[in-house]
């Protein structure tokens, strides 16, 4: 026998129940109000803009070795030029597109596969659950990075598509596990049983009734996977398994490493792309924390109660 809701003012209780899916407007409001989300969102937006309009920001071509090599930082070349005379700043700006494409596509693909498999396993239970779990667990246990190396090497020159496919195949299992656990706790909710009792089919219940209630989890999964995609892709490109002719941060790092940039006095060549990766990763991570807090009010930072001077408790009637 359970209790009527009490103790919390009605409005607070209602706010806590407010759904995560009704409108981008709500997400927008939540992002603005949460400091972490704002910073992360702004950073991500900057990167997106750079990726969409690289020509506006960098006036040089990234691949043309048109300049004298090893120039230092100047207004003409914000990050100097590399060993080949290419403008470093332009390289990074144009490389953003590749990185973001990988991040978003992998994020989306991984989350989609993980949702379908993880949530179906949780909802269907029994034999379906067990068989899906076997598949998930096998992939989970295989160390990701060595597997990636094998796949990329086997694919003979990783184009961006190969990178995306390889990272997706190796990353979805972790998220599937996570989402399965979450879905298991949500499985017993009355409205799902109500849907079953009124005659809905299981596929409908999973897609329409269950998954939409997990949106904040899905957003978090997306952001995490996007983050790891950036890191894995850059790492693969760094060790030469990406296509060295693509313009990307990882490949810039690869060329920097090949030319021993740090030792030959061109530190920016190695540091700048690394810094970009770090900043983009931070943006995703901040947004991730923020969405955790948005989805679960219990995690929100509590504002310390400030007593104004002179606000002494007064004796009442």
């Amino acid at each position: 026998m359970a209790m009527p809701v009490s103790g919390v003012p009605a409005t607070e209780a209602r706010a806590a129940h407010a759904p995560a899916a009704h409108g981008l407007a709500r997400i927008g409001r939540a992002v603005r109000r949460n400091r972490k989300a704002t910073v992360g969102g702004v950073l991500l937006l900057i990167f997106i803009l750079i990726a969409l309009f690289p020509g506006v920001i960098a006036h040089d071509s990234p691949t043309q070795d048109a300049y004298p090599p090893q120039l230092g930082v100047s207004t003409a070349h914000l990050l100097g030029t590399n060993h080949y005379g290419q403008d470093l700043f332009a390289q990074l700006v144009y490389g953003t597109r590749n990185v973001l494409i990988i991040a978003f596509v992998v994020g989306l693909a991984t989350t989609t596969i993980a949702v379908l498999i993880g949530v179906a396993a949780a909802y269907l239970g029994g034999l379906a659950d067990s068989s899906l779990n076997v598949v998930t667990d096998v992939l989970l246990v295989i160390p990701i990075f060595p597997l990636l190396i094998v796949i990329a090497a086997y694919a003979q020159g990783g184009t961006t598509l190969v990178l995306i496919a390889a990272i997706t195949v190796t990353s979805w299992s972790y998220t599937a596990r996570q989402l399965r656990s979450q879905a298991l706790t949500l499985r017993r909710r009355d409205f799902l049983e109500a849907a079953r009792v009124r005659g809905e089919r299981p596929l409908y219940i999973i897609l329409v009734e269950l998954i939409p209630t997990m949106t904040s989890l899905l957003v978090a999964a997306f952001l995490t996977n996007a983050l790891y995609a950036v890191l894995f892709a850059s790492s693969l490109q760094f060790i030469g398994l990406g296509d060295p002719n693509t313009v990307s941060w990882g490949t810039t790092l690869y060329w920097a490493q090949n030319n021993a940039a740090l030792q030959t006095g061109e530190p920016l060549w190695a540091i700048a792309p690394g810094a970009c990766i770090a900043v983009l990763g931070t943006a995703f991570a901040l947004l991730n924390y923020a969405f955790d807090e948005i989805g679960n009010p219990a995690l929100r930072p509590v504002r310390k109660v400030r007593r104004k001077k002179g606000d002494e408790p007064r004796a009442g009637k």
């Binding site: 026998m1 359970a2 209790m3 009527p4 809701v5 009490s6 103790g7 919390v8 003012p9 009605a10 409005t11 607070e12 209780a13 109000r33 509590v302 504002r303 310390k304 109660v305 408790p313 007064r314 004796a315 009442g316 009637k317």
Partner: protein
């Protein structure tokens, strides 16, 4: 022994402060059983937490004092409070399943409680633990049991036993019987009353179930929308409810005996505390409301030995 005076509790939220408890005053004397009744959202649990000094942000005491045995508890530090906690005042929570640690035995939890509030030897702890369990009718062998091995009724009883470890002067209870079935509820209430008569402590008992409290409390405080609506001797509140809300509440209980009559309940819903109605907070649901009820906010008015917050009682226009 306990005097709450003008207590107000605010929730500091982004969109402004919400006053969950508004200017509540009451006393509890030695050995007295005070019942606090109200529906969801009336602020009774918040009030309880404020009295026990267990409010967590964003809730905070905005005004008023809680004087326990001469000391004002509001504003005391945790160290000062812990000297008094459990020895002089203890708390029984709403759901034992949530309050008891599921991975520790009952005995271990009693030991924790005793160790936290004093220095005792192992034998003293075991002896006292067994003693309080016997007090509530549980075989001391269950000191070695885990909460999930006990039934709901037994879990609640062990919560009460834990509250009795130091035989405090005041025990505050937040709906301890809600998760129990009717028969277990009744026997738990009787147990509490027996303990109270044996040891003489005061009880403040918060519940939404008015009919349950009717046979056990000495005085009754009815809360509505964060305010005291009525306060008086239990029997009199039941025989002659003064506030229209209390009247409505009493009429909302179908009876097992007597004729079957259609009941109406109280139309509408309790107000959103961030947008309280002007004038009397109960006015939108009150069948006796007149014009001035929307304009003036009623104060607590002493009448026939009780206190009632109703303009029409004050001016005598509402006949009993």
């Amino acid at each position: 022994m306990l005097e709450v005076s003008g207590l107000s509790v605010d929730y500091i939220l982004d969109r402004g402060n919400v006053r969950a408890v508004d200017d509540v005053s009451f006393t509890a004397g030695r050995g007295e059983f005070l019942g606090i009744v109200g529906e969801s959202g009336c602020g009774k649990s918040t009030l309880l937490f404020a009295v026990a000094q267990l409010l967590a942000p964003p809730a905070t005491v905005a005004a008023g004092t809680v004087t326990f045995e001469g000391t004002n508890l509001v504003g005391l530090t945790d160290e000062q409070l812990s000297a008094m906690r459990w020895r002089d005042m203890s708390l029984v929570m709403q759901s034992a399943m949530n309050a008891l640690n599921p991975v520790k035995t009952i005995g271990a939890q009693f030991k924790d409680a005793m160790r936290a509030h004093g220095k005792f030897t192992g034998e003293e702890i075991t002896a006292r633990s067994a003693e309080v369990l016997k007090m509530v009718g549980i075989d001391p062998v269950h000191l070695r049991s885990y909460p999930f091995q006990l039934s709901g009724g037994m879990r609640q009883r062990s919560m009460i036993a834990m509250a009795m470890l130091f035989t405090p002067d005041l025990v505050i209870m937040d709906e301890p019987t809600s998760a129990l079935d009717v028969v277990a509820q009744r026997s738990l209430m009787v147990q509490i009353k027996e303990l109270q008569q044996a040891f003489g402590f005061a009880v403040i008992f918060v519940t939404h179930d008015m009919s349950l409290i009717s046979h056990f409390s000495d005085r009754l405080l009815v809360m509505y929308a964060g305010q005291v609506a009525e306060l008086g001797v239990t029997k009199e509140v039941f025989d002659r409810p003064l506030h229209p809300y209390t009247q409505g509440l009493l009429e909302a209980f179908p009876s097992i005996r007597g004729p079957r009559v259609p009941l109406k309940g109280i139309p509408g819903n309790p107000p959103d505390l961030s947008h309280v109605p002007s004038g009397c907070r109960f006015r939108p649901r009150c069948s006796y409301a007149i014009e001035k009820c929307a304009e003036l906010e009623p104060d607590l008015y002493p009448m026939d030995g009780a206190l009632v917050r109703c303009l029409r009682r004050e001016d005598g226009s509402l006949a009993s």
